[in-house]
Amino acid sequence: MLDGAARARWQNRLLFALLLAPAVVWLGGLIVLPHVELAILSFRERVGPRHYVPSLAQYATFFTEPLYWHVFVRTAWLSIVATLLTLLVAFPIAWIIAKLLRGRAGTTLFMLCLIPFWVSETVRTLGWMILLRESGVLPALLVRLGITPVPVELLYHDATLLVGLVYTSMLFMLIPLVSSLESLDDSLIEAAYDLGANGVDVLRRIVIPHAAPGITAGCIIVFMLTLGNYLTPTLLGGKNSQWFTEQIYTQFITRFNWEEGAAFGFLLLGLSTAIVLVGLRLTGQSFGAVMRDSR
């Protein structure tokens, strides 16, 4: 009997080890160790062929070269603007889906909003390019309507870049917003009106506090995706986009300067972590709760 119990325990341990192994190999081999390697690369300097010394030179270059610094701040700033715009555009639609439409109609509208995101970002960006470039659909329409005498180039502006970024992140804002608004009890809103509140009061004191976890989750995901986006800035912003991921690509792939590229990678990672933490602090949320809520 004891022998049987010991065997069962041994079996359990073996099973546990077998289940643990894939997770350890995946997280260790594809996430943790690669980032350790990236850290090592970023903290060294090449002084001769195949000869490296530990140094902070890569980070020093970043802080002393105004271009890198400028692109970094610009990327962060535009990502924040894009995130807030996405929230502003998505919120009314989330409200309509969750509160105004009942049953089937709500579900159908929600499904309709999700459909475009089954198609690759490359295809959606191609659509924007055909719409907006000088020989494209919208400039031709503007000429036809007599608004501009000749076709104007609508690509390669910051506004275009923002439209593309808002478009491509919409899904990730909509899902957490809808799920957090759906759980808001209508009778709370009715009670507020009965007690003499107006629309602004209801929004400010009932709806937004209730939806805060969803809003935070959506903003965090959208911000991180925007910051790390490469396709939309390079294609819609062109040379003017000056997105930080392009700098990483240039250092790593074009110039083969892995040390500098690794430092840039860490700076981007640090920036996204910092802004997310500040966002969580400002709204009084915890990371675990937000991630649970976003599913």
Partner: protein, 285 residues
């Protein structure tokens, strides 16, 4: 603001206008891509010059290489599909093991690990790409220096693309499968064990059939995410370009409407996959 409260007419009208405007914003780029796949012009641009199927069927002799004749584009679709199959298989296998681990073990180490599993979702794809590129090349160097091995698969190329995409797709598969496993009634498992079934038999005949919708669903999502991945792939790609990278390269040069044709094909394929998934979920419930 809600249906049970009276809403003035202007609010109702503006709600309707906003919804229509929003849907137009969402669908306009896709509609434009689809329409210009059929325009009889060398570039995907207005004006409309009549309907043609050249960008699907045309060959080099007509001066317009259509999708069916564009070997390079077809090759990249096959490359993407091959990569996506590996990613789907790998992420379902790893995701299932992870789901059992985080749902069935209460040890503190596993709980810490399950938080770490969320990390790939918050690391930008570009950084996942470069870190894996750097680490793989370090391993290849060490293998060469120490053992004289020629570890070619660790150089930029399709095996690295598969690994790079797996790094974050596994998280999504894990979350999907774990969510279903959490709702599993464990008394069913105990009953089968009491009736004398071995653990392997319980897994095969009770637990896995229950998990099947989540396994199929996460395989489909993994396939789609892999097929559409751009950021991570771009950093790890070798000489065989998957479709997104190939399209990106051509879009920068100013491509012919054959790209619209391939995009339309992608839209239809995604729609078919979505319908299949929705139908599968209907049958389940």
């Amino acid at each position: 603001m809600i249906p049970s409260l009276p809403r003035p007419a202007w609010l109702r009208v503006s709600t309707l206008i906003y919804t229509i405007g929003f849907l137009t914003f969402l669908f306009l780029p896709l509609a434009i891509v689809a329409v210009f796949a059929f325009n009889d012009a060398p570039y995907p641009a207005p004006p409309w010059r009549g309907f043609t199927l050249d960008w699907f069927l045309g060959n080099a002799a007509s001066g317009r290489v259509g999708l069916l004749q564009d070997g390079e584009l077809q090759g990249s679709i096959l490359t993407s599909a091959l990569v996506a199959c590996w990613v789907a298989a790998g992420s379902v296998a790893l995701g299932t093991a992870n789901a059992f681990l985080i749902e069935r073990s209460r040890s503190r180490a596993v709980r810490a690990l399950s938080v770490l599993m969320l990390a790939p979702l918050v690391i930008p794809g570009v950084i996942l790409g470069i870190s894996i590129l750097a680490f793989a090349s370090r391993l290849a160097e060490l293998g060469d220096d120490w053992f004289g091995w020629d570890l070619d698969f660790l150089r930029p190329g399709l095996p690295l693309v598969v690994l790079g995409q797996l790094s974050y797709v596994v998280t999504i598969a894990t979350l999907t499968i774990a969510a279903r496993l959490r709702r599993f009634d464990r008394t069913l498992e105990e009953a089968a064990l009491n009736l004398g079934a071995s653990r392997a038999a319980v897994l095969r005949t009770v637990v896995l059939p229950y998990l099947k919708p989540a396994l199929l669903g996460s395989a489909a999502i993994a396939f789609l995410m892999s097929f559409e991945d751009f950021n991570t792939t771009l950093m790890l790609v070798g000489s065989d370009a998957p479709l997104t990278v190939m399209m990106y390269g051509r879009m920068r040069e100013g491509a012919t409407p054959v790209l619209n044709a391939v995009s339309l094909f992608l839209m239809l394929a995604s729609a078919a996959l979505a319908l299949l998934l929705i139908r599968g979920q209907r049958r389940k419930s």
